[in-house]
Symmetry: C4
Subunit: 299 residues, 4 copies
Amino acid sequence: MERNDLGFGQKSSSNKARFVTPDGKINVLRKGQPLIRPYDFYHSLISMSWGKFIFLVSLSFFISNLIFAGFYTFIENQALSSVNHSSLLQKYWDSFFFSVQTMTTVGYGAMSPISSWAKIISSVESFIGLLGFALVTGLLYGRFSRPEMKIRYSKNILIAPFKEGKALMFKMANQRSSKLIEAEVTMVLIANKDGNRIYHNLDLQLNKINFFALTWTVVHPINEESFFFNQTEDSLQNLDLEVVILVKAFDDSFSQTVYSHSSYTYDEFVWNAKFDTSIFQENGKMAIDLNQLDNYTKI
Amino acid sequence: MERNDLGFGQKSSSNKARFVTPDGKINVLRKGQPLIRPYDFYHSLISMSWGKFIFLVSLSFFISNLIFAGFYTFIENQALSSVNHSSLLQKYWDSFFFSVQTMTTVGYGAMSPISSWAKIISSVESFIGLLGFALVTGLLYGRFSRPEMKIRYSKNILIAPFKEGKALMFKMANQRSSKLIEAEVTMVLIANKDGNRIYHNLDLQLNKINFFALTWTVVHPINEESFFFNQTEDSLQNLDLEVVILVKAFDDSFSQTVYSHSSYTYDEFVWNAKFDTSIFQENGKMAIDLNQLDNYTKI
Amino acid sequence: MERNDLGFGQKSSSNKARFVTPDGKINVLRKGQPLIRPYDFYHSLISMSWGKFIFLVSLSFFISNLIFAGFYTFIENQALSSVNHSSLLQKYWDSFFFSVQTMTTVGYGAMSPISSWAKIISSVESFIGLLGFALVTGLLYGRFSRPEMKIRYSKNILIAPFKEGKALMFKMANQRSSKLIEAEVTMVLIANKDGNRIYHNLDLQLNKINFFALTWTVVHPINEESFFFNQTEDSLQNLDLEVVILVKAFDDSFSQTVYSHSSYTYDEFVWNAKFDTSIFQENGKMAIDLNQLDNYTKI
Amino acid sequence: MERNDLGFGQKSSSNKARFVTPDGKINVLRKGQPLIRPYDFYHSLISMSWGKFIFLVSLSFFISNLIFAGFYTFIENQALSSVNHSSLLQKYWDSFFFSVQTMTTVGYGAMSPISSWAKIISSVESFIGLLGFALVTGLLYGRFSRPEMKIRYSKNILIAPFKEGKALMFKMANQRSSKLIEAEVTMVLIANKDGNRIYHNLDLQLNKINFFALTWTVVHPINEESFFFNQTEDSLQNLDLEVVILVKAFDDSFSQTVYSHSSYTYDEFVWNAKFDTSIFQENGKMAIDLNQLDNYTKI
């Protein structure tokens, strides 16, 4: 069995913050980075929310047009045909729409560049517009096609009766309608003991399944080799326990390997309880109710 | 040999429906999901049929233009130049084509926005049009480049004579003209026995080949270790047998790992038959006839 | 050591044609396929030559415009503004350019649709045009980004002196300027012996290197375990030998795993020769001359 | 333990140049390649700097328009409407902007093709324009989505006290904000000894971590099996030492396997020093300061 080092170092600390957030982010601060990091540009555009992304694209479009409209308004008296010169604001307003029609390459032609400068600027603008929309095309594709598991983890991790003894178990569900193939789970425990940070692999009853289409109850049997063997609620209290979950699978719809991470801290442990079943029969078919994922019964 | 768990749980049921459909879908119901699942949006647009996809894109285009045409018609009396105002319908009709010319960025200019509102709306429309076609570009690429095996499985799985004994065998053909490299097959049996669902790995005579260019006869020799050893047609009758096939390979034209799944239920078993050959010689070259894939001879 | 089955079956034949062509294609005929195979559409558009691809795209563009021009010409008398009606040919000619301006969304507006049918058809055409170019965008990207090794294999495979004995060796060069990382080679021999087709793994002195940046001489030492041990030129003559080469590596510039295949038949064997060196020094740096790849000296 | 061959051959040389540059490029010359290598076209467009790429795209756009403007100017007297014929330069100038408006598909229509030749050429130009921007769309996406680790390696590699003995160690930091999952490091030593180039695997205290989010100190303990055991600064002086670093990981934001390489030559060794810590506490959270990566203290 290969040793799992999570990469958080081995010096313990008075650290009470969790290392991995429930949605799988690494909870560590990073200092000394340059403010502008081109290599993170794509990453952040791809991983921000859809709302923020669309707002950002629209804003860039709007601001670029404000700037180009400024050029057409101020650079020359008669830059464009058919523009209303009654006031500067009116001229800027008309120039703005000319700019939009140029950047989007609509080019109705009701307004068109007359002066040389206007011709040059509108040429540059239409070129920039095409490059910009090329960029957005790529980003939209990148956002859509980014393979990501959508795993819902049960809110709690239980210490439940299992065969003759006990086991640590949590449930998870695949929220996408895709098949996850050859799914593998690893469970690693982080604890503080005598001033050192220690890592423990928690062996699983079953750590790989061929299809993870719906739900999976992951079970760590508490036998003599387990860290939890003969431990009580009290003895675990002050160890800053964190159980980190690592899931790896092949996503059938993206045809790529995907990872999902989560963690449970000691507050999320429930002793002597077992999960309610979420599998039932319907018309002779196996069916699963995702709403029941978190439900458990104390015993 | 690693144990294969298909992920369907271990509690048996009165379940008569197959778990895996012949075309590889997981045949299990899913309840309690939210109606709108943004994370499944891309998946469904990528995996729907071409007909449905093109219909959906065309419909979205049509409806968007109906809506924008409404704006141009009703928002102001004189929104566009050169529009026929003889009747409201005629005005809407002309506005609709102006809308199309804006959204596609054709912009002939025969009609063009006059009023401020029309200018604003047409700006927004051309922007939305470009984003929309950017999206469609990504989706078209995603659909085309989605790596998927096209495996044709023989309709039946045979119990055929093999060496001194018998073997369970089926045939499959690679329908694409691409090479499948390092193809691997796994066969897992699901059965109901004494109220428990059991899984059995069926060991194969050969479970990996370097090139899967054409056809492959997959053979599970029925020796003492096999589940099928000393079984008869009758003894297998009531076990709700399902043989699940898992194929994994590297597709040369997509340069990605691909998976294909299928299954045979007990109705698809044929006893004492062997597959007809589909390999023949032509001009000194090896040739294969895909039409013969399903053919077998009773013995 | 895992057994390598190339997937060509085990029944021998009077077959004299090679199984794998020197450029890595599988040389087997395929019958019984439907004429139109949508699942091969993308594959063939991606793998055809650039010349053929550009010709096909241009032809589709040209023919679509011919067809749309027909609509504009024949459907109505006065479909478009500013069209020369002096002759039918002249009208078709003008309609053709209107069609081009619509499909490319240039839309100068010098010509524009007047009649309702012309408006409808031009709307459809601009929509189809955008979808078509979206498709081409995806295909161009697919063609460019398709990871493919460009390995040049030496024309001959040599039986050369090696340490105390002999070895079978060929040379290969990475023609791209990308790094190939963790490159692995496998060599499999196909032979006909007593009416059976047999496969032999040829063990290599070194079957994996970290960087395959330039050239690599692949060496199969002929020791007691080798198929070639104690064989002579005559004893190998009638075995229909074919040595199949399988190369697998990770391409640094595409960030994907890539495969390359080739083969040597018995005509391409050279006995008692060794490759000339292609490595030399230049300004204290190691340098390699790809022109020398095929050169060998008889001994 | 698998042997690592870096693929630089085994004949030693008077070679003093490093094999791998600190930023991971292979430092070997390549001769005998054809000048035009279509298979490297995409690679070079994807890996050149952003500045160079944008310059190249803009230049191609500019030159194409210069050429097309030439056609419109010289092919006929009256090719375009509304063009100023007062001088040839003025005509070329106007034709240039018509060309831009055609290639970008803006098509205001203030100028439009009159003659048959102008119509043909502008049709071809708009078609080429669309293909060109399709290409640029793909390239932009390819550049952005190209997965590449951004690892910063410490400037020096130290021989530092470690447990009871010594160890060779360097530090590295993940500069992207993405998680690197299942990161693996390999260290290989290249040395010249008695005229032969030798490779040594340097075993690591820990060669794999689950999350490489921030920094990692890679440690090769100098025990009896190490190449460095009982070596002194002087004994290593003339061996042309080079320590090659190979890092492999799965990048969470690109969902692909990525590699990074670097190397240290003997000038970059520092004896008897240890790295300053770059981990500290902030608000109960673990924090890391990337500015401290290179800092060490002599002892």
